[in-house]
């Protein structure tokens, strides 16, 4: 019986692992070895601990509570940051986007100009968001953030970070265009 439980645990873990896409894995693995590159991976159990912290937040801090509760629905966060490093070639970015589209990602926003590239993609399954990936490159800085999990858009809409994100997007567009 103990072996059956271990087998089930391995199967569940491998399923979670497969939620990370091949295209993203390849892109991150290829570029995390660059100079000035920082690759961060936050596993689900750490996010669960963070989410548990919602129970200790004061009632007035709705925004913080919402964020912490949302972390319960996120299974993994990966980031790749290259600051003051070599620019990622547009061909590599195109290959990443095409790869993601081949894996059922849908492009939400694209802003591309001479020295700025902003992409936001989403993967949905059965009306649930399974992955949100954002890629931002501007001059000598590149940031790739990918969230895997199982949440609804309604879980996000109450977060004020949307206002912040929209402001950042407007600022980026004003710089690039």
């Amino acid at each position: 019986m103990k072996n059956l439980y271990i087998l089930l645990l391995v199967l569940i873990s491998s399923t979670i692992g497969q939620s990370q896409t091949r295209s993203l894995n390849k892109f991150i693995n290829n570029h995390k070895v660059q100079d000035n590159a920082l690759a961060i991976s936050v596993p689900g159990w750490v996010l669960d601990l963070v989410g548990f912290g919602a129970n200790f937040v004061e009632d007035q801090e709705d925004e913080v509570k919402e964020l912490l509760r949302l972390s319960n629905k996120i299974s993994k966060v990966r980031m790749l940051i290259i600051d003051d490093g070599a620019e990622i070639k547009s061909k590599n970015v195109s290959n990443l986007i095409k790869g993601l589209q081949g894996e059922n990602f849908e492009e939400l926003i694209t802003v591309h100009s001479e020295d700025t590239d902003i992409r936001l993609l989403i993967k949905e399954k059965r009306n649930a968001i399974r992955n949100i990936t954002a890629f931002i490159q501007s001059e000598d800085t590149m940031v790739l953030v990918t969230l895997s999990g199982n949440f609804k858009f309604d879980d996000l809409k109450n977060l004020k970070i949307w206002d912040d994100a929209m402001e950042e997007l407007d600022d980026a567009k004003k710089l690039s265009i």
């Binding site: 547009s90 849908e106 939400l108 926003i109 802003v111 591309h112 809409k157 949307w162 567009k173 265009i177």
Partner: protein, 186 residues
């Protein structure tokens, strides 16, 4: 709209002649002006990775999401425009503007797009074209040629009275030409 009928007759062999099998396969392909949508989209796709161009694409899903999270204090007309939009593509450059303007104009099927308004001002040509079904405008196409080349395509159920207001809320080069629509109305 295309309908492509294919009739296939199969006659099996000598022994089966009595039982000639006539297989009629009728394929109906209902296109949404399939050929023309391809031409505009192809034109955008052709230059979307070109370093000389600025490209903006906002998908139908993004508009749907934005309409759900729009703040309560947002202008009601802009909220309604966003709710009804199903896509936005912008292509703009300051290189070889006249050549790209002429090339873009040559791609447009004048049987499907109707010129709504033309503005010429100090060497800049601005053209608004629409594709509609009945009273509903399904696509608004903006072409600008002069100091800059701009090609802008809005897809959805478009209210010209309200879309001019969008120019003030989206700070992207080329959007200011939408204000001419408001001037036309007045």
């Amino acid at each position: 709209m295309y309908t492509l009928p294919i009739l296939i007759t199969i006659s099996i062999n000598e022994k089966m002649k009595k039982f000639n099998l006539v297989l009629a396969l009728l394929l109906g392909i209902v296109g949404m002006s399939f050929g023309q949508a391809d031409a505009i989209e192809k034109y955008f796709s052709q230059y979307q990775d070109d370093e000389n161009f600025t490209v903006v694409y906002i998908s139908p899903k993004m508009f749907s999401m934005v309409s759900k999270i729009a703040p309560d204090d947002m202008d009601q007309d802009i909220k309604e425009v966003i709710k009804d939009l199903k896509g936005l593509r912008i292509l703009t450059t300051e290189y070889n503007t006249e050549a790209f303007y002429k090339e873009a104009k040559s791609k447009i099927n004048t049987k499907e797009y109707e010129v709504l308004m033309t503005v010429r001002d100090e060497g800049t040509n601005v053209e608004f074209l629409v594709k509609d079904t009945g009273d509903i405008i399904n696509e608004l196409l903006l072409l600008v040629g002069g100091d800059e080349f701009v090609m802008m395509s809005f897809v959805g159920n478009i209210d010209l009275n309200k879309i001019a207001k969008l120019a003030n809320s989206i700070d992207i080069d080329g959007m200011e030409h939408l204000e001419n629509l408001g001037d036309k109305k007045n």
